[in-house]
């Protein structure tokens, strides 16, 4: 089965959402140096909900189509929901069978968006660190720390 379905080419060659949104609350950039792919994802928020999502970048058709489809898909979702997006969801969105060698192309924009979302949450909702915190709070803090570590190592962000 071809990876180059009509719809993929359409998204890759004529992406309607390929533009910068400099006023966006989430701006996240990452590269795939092995391919020379680079992407910047912009997500504008209203009450922690994505009101508009766009991207800029260079790369192969698979990575560009994935970025454009992802941006479309996440509008209307909360930032917390962005952090929970999975690789499977993205592949379902693409609707093609992505070969193993091309997975990193397909997943670059998802990784970039998730890192952006985690960083946004980390800077806007710092966790309480006082000595009186309850067990529940502490547990919450632990899991959040885990999440933040998760986010700061992009290669793990998709696991």
């Amino acid at each position: 089965m071809t990876m180059y379905a009509e719809v993929i080419l359409e998204y890759a060659q004529n992406p309607s959402n390929k533009k910068a949104l400099i006023q966006a609350e989430i701006i996240s950039h990452d590269t795939n140096p092995l391919c020379g792919d680079a992407v910047t994802i912009y997500a504008q928020l209203q009450n922690n909900v994505v009101s508009k999502c766009t991207f800029e970048g260079v790369g192969c058709a698979i990575s560009l189509a994935a970025a454009s489809m992802l941006c479309e898909h996440v509008e209307g979702r909360t930032v917390a929901e962005l952090t929970k997006l999975t690789k499977e969801q993205l592949l379902e969105l693409l609707g093609i069978e992505v070969s193993y060698a091309r997975l990193k192309c397909a997943l670059l924009s998802l990784k970039t968006l998730k890192v952006g979302a985690y960083n946004f949450l980390a800077t806007t909702n710092p966790q309480p660190r006082d000595a009186d915190s309850t067990d529940a709070q502490r547990e919450n803090e632990n899991s959040s720390t885990t999440q933040r570590t998760f986010a700061s190592t992009p290669s793990e962000a998709l696991q």
Binding site: Y4, P33, C35, G36, D37, G59, C60, A61, I62
Partner: protein, 434 residues
């Protein structure tokens, strides 16, 4: 037949069509005989002829034991098989067996030189000169040694049309005036030159004789990465007069896991061991150890015996065909490949023009299509090419490309492989509506 004679006689359109069209060599390669693919990625790794696989199997079935250790006959047979392979390699490049060090690949061979020779001989502000078309394997080990020793890396730039090295600039790197210029960061001499023989991206054949002569005149050594030339062109280290020459077995019909470092004996004698442990020692006490004689001083641990046997079988296979036939077949197909690619609108061919001799590979770029997309679409028609930065990111930066595509030729390729590639590229353009 030496390379210079080849250059005079074979770089022409004269090969008999029968060789190009027949699969006389293809039948020697079980994978290609069985799978219906168009394999154009031999510069990454070659396919393996049956004789190589058979010899390795025979070794395991009949001679397997740990060499250099056992007193029993089987271990002696393994030792003989291993050392015989070294002699075959030595003869193949006109070296002495004591000058042949088995390593796992060319990358390890360069690491050995950079670490063992480099740490001993390089000092702060000494200069390491590398060509702009180096593979990462001949850049990164030197960067690491430069970090430790304070040595400086300089590059030999490409000429203006990106087809060859700028030899005038190469000569200029040695000028003593550069060191006396005011505020010059170059205060010390060039200690070593590292260059690829045939560029794995451009296909350029670098003038090793001339580069070596200039390096030696200025008191520098030279290391040559011969990965893309071994098995394609005859190599004679005595004639080339290089100090170090490295290559990998798997690119010349041999197995993976074995590579070769050739070094002049005088250098090996003065270099400290690279990896240490078993097999590379003469004596060990709690206080100190002494080293085995050359070349064993540089081969720690149980060596890759079956792989060495496989490499020797590969060399025998190459010799049985002969460089003249190999070169004539590969050169004709490479010329055809170059012409066909250059004729496709929107395809840009990298490297030297058809007027210049080149290695058996052609890299290219399809306008407005990422090389990974090109390779994926070609894969749908069973055409295997390399795409990406080809382990030469600095070179691609100079070419102003993030990545490129490469088709490479070996003796088992036939015209149909190129026809399939060209048809595949037409399909790429259709898919991308170009």
């Amino acid at each position: 037949m030496r390379y210079h004679d080849l250059k005079k006689t074979v770089f022409s359109d004269s090969a008999p069509q029968s060789i190009m069209n027949s699969s006389s060599f293809k039948k020697d390669f079980p994978l290609l005989a069985k799978q219906n693919i168009f394999y154009l990625d031999s510069a990454a790794t070659s396919q393996k002829p049956l004789v190589v696989l058979k010899q390795m199997e025979k070794f395991y079935k009949e001679k397997n034991a740990n060499p250099h250790r056992g007193i029993y006959s089987l271990s002696e047979a393994a030792t003989k098989a291993y050392e015989n392979s070294r002699e075959v390699v030595a003869k193949f490049i006109n070296a002495k067996p004591t000058e042949i060090v088995f390593v796992k690949n060319a990358t390890e061979a360069i690491n050995l030189v950079a670490i063992s020779w480099g740490k001993k001989n390089l000092q702060k502000e000494d200069r390491i000169v590398l060509s702009e078309m180096e593979h990462h394997s001949n850049i990164v080990p030197w960067q690491q040694v430069a970090l430790e020793t304070g040595a400086i890396i300089e590059k030999i730039p490409l000429n203006t049309d990106h087809s060859a090295l700028d030899m005038a600039e190469y000569v200029r790197l040695f000028f003593p005036q550069r060191m006396s210029e005011k505020n010059s960061k170059y205060k010390k001499k060039v200690k070593i030159v590292g260059t690829i023989h045939i560029s794995n991206v451009l296909g350029t054949i670098n003038p090793i004789n001339e580069m070596t002569r200039i390096a030696h005149q200025n008191g520098a050594l030279i290391l040559v990465d011969a990965c893309q030339s071994t098995g394609h062109l005859p190599l004679d280290v005595k004639e080339l007069d290089v100090d170090f020459l490295v290559f990998s077995g798997h690119k010349m019909f041999g197995p993976s896991g074995i590579g070769v470092l050739y070094a002049k004996e005088e250098h090996l004698k003065n270099m400290p061991p690279f990896l240490t442990g078993g097999d590379m020692i003469k004596t060990v006490s709690w206080e100190k150890s002494t080293w085995a004689d050359l070349p064993h001083k540089f081969e720690a641990g149980t060596p890759p015996v079956a792989e060495a046997v496989g490499l020797a079988a590969a060399i025998e296979y190459i010799s049985s065909i002969g460089f003249s036939a190999i070169h004539s077949h590969e050169n004709d197909l490479t010329r055809m490949l170059h012409k066909e690619l250059a004729a496709i609108e929107g395809v840009i061919v990298l490297g030297p023009s058809l007027k210049t001799a080149r290695g058996a590979l052609v890299s290219f770029d399809v306008n407005n299509v990422h090389p990974h997309d090109v390779a994926s679409i070609l894969n749908e028609s069973k055409v295997c090419i390399r795409s990406g930065h080809q382990c030469a990111m600095p070179l691609h930066t100079s070419l102003n490309l993030a990545a490129s595509c490469r088709a490479s030729i070996s003796i088992y390729n036939i015209e149909e492989d190129i026809t399939a590639l060209v048809a595949g590229l037409t399909r790429v353009k259709e898919v991308f509506r170009l």
